[in-house]
Amino acid sequence: MDSTEAIYNGLKDAGIDFIVSVPCVNLSKLLNMIDEDDSITHIPVTREEEGIGLCAGAYLGGKRTAILMQNSGLGNSINALKSLTELYGFPLLMIMSHRGTEGENICGQVPMGQSTPLILEAMNFNFFKPGTPEGAYEAIRTSWELSEEEKKPVSILLEIKYW
């Protein structure tokens, strides 16, 4: 399993069938795989917060939902994740390309990258930082059920060195 296939397989085995996205270069191969999969509805959105709304509606309609984004999108979504997803107890899987971590060459990614785990901790949301494809597969496969149990989002942070 390569790093992208591990995520894709994890999403499939978790039964995820509705995905919204704002792209990251590290997610581009994954986004192509999802686009080619007819059993997954994939909606690119203009801003991550909008995607949180779509996932809420799709869950009401019976879908298993995930958002694919850069960790910068977490900042764009905080209120919706609290005042919509957590408020109503919606499950949601958040797959984040965690920029600003070891190996980052764009300085603009660093401040938000450093704060991302702290923000998730402050939000009291569970998150995992798998270091290998096997770890990522397992974390993603089991996170939907964890999210349903906890009635709030669960995040997978994929640092630069993961890829």
């Binding site: 203009t46 949180i52 709304g53 779509l54 809420a56 509606g57 869950y59 005042s83 919509l84």
Partner: protein
């Protein structure tokens, strides 16, 4: 005519449609006018009514979805216009009640007061109508994704706070689906 009258007029055309209703007084007024299992009331996340409606419309293509939104909320999530237009679910009717005011926070004016929201929605490609020009029932039942602007005056009624918990709103709504 104020928002409460507008919601009353909208509900005259509603049968079994699923409704996603905007946060604050719009949801309180709808709850007071006609509480029903098919209503989803937003208690938080201003701006996302149309996004929730879009997600639901895509997940449930066999059901008609009506979003009751507001001008201030639309301004907070303008990107939704292009995403809804890109997806164009044929079962979605997006109604924006434009009273030119942030009603739930004390009727401060919005920039939409002097905007023609129909023209903006048409500009991105959505089929758009003024409420006074249409039979809403026909628009809901046709096979298109439609945007409807309902112009009215600012002002809130004395509708009470919604007594249901968010969990209860969700459970009841999902049961009817």
């Amino acid at each position: 005519m104020k928002r409460r009258d507008a919601i009353n007029r909208i509900m005259d055309s509603i049968e079994s449609e699923l409704i996603i209703c905007n946060i604050g007084f719009p949801s309180r007024e709808l709850y007071d006018i006609y509480d029903r299992d098919e209503n989803f009331y937003m208690i938080g996340s201003m701006g996302l009514a149309s996004s929730i409606g879009l997600g639901l419309a895509l997940a449930k293509p066999e059901r008609d979805i009506v979003v009751i939104d507001g001008d201030g909320s639309l301004l907070m999530n303008m990107g939704s216009l292009v995403t809804v237009n890109a997806c164009k679910p044929r079962n979605l009717t997006w109604i924006v009640i434009n009273n030119g005011a942030y009603g739930s926070t004390g009727n401060q004016e919005t920039y939409a007061k002097d905007l023609n929201l129909c023209e903006i929605a048409s500009g991105v490609g959505l089929k758009s109508y003024k409420f006074e020009d249409i039979d809403l029932k026909e628009i809901i039942n046709d096979d298109e994704c439609n945007f409807v602007e309902f112009n009215c005056e600012a002002g809130n009624s004395t509708a009470p706070i919604i007594e249901m918990t968010p969990e209860a709103i969700k459970k009841r709504f999902m049961k009817i689906i």
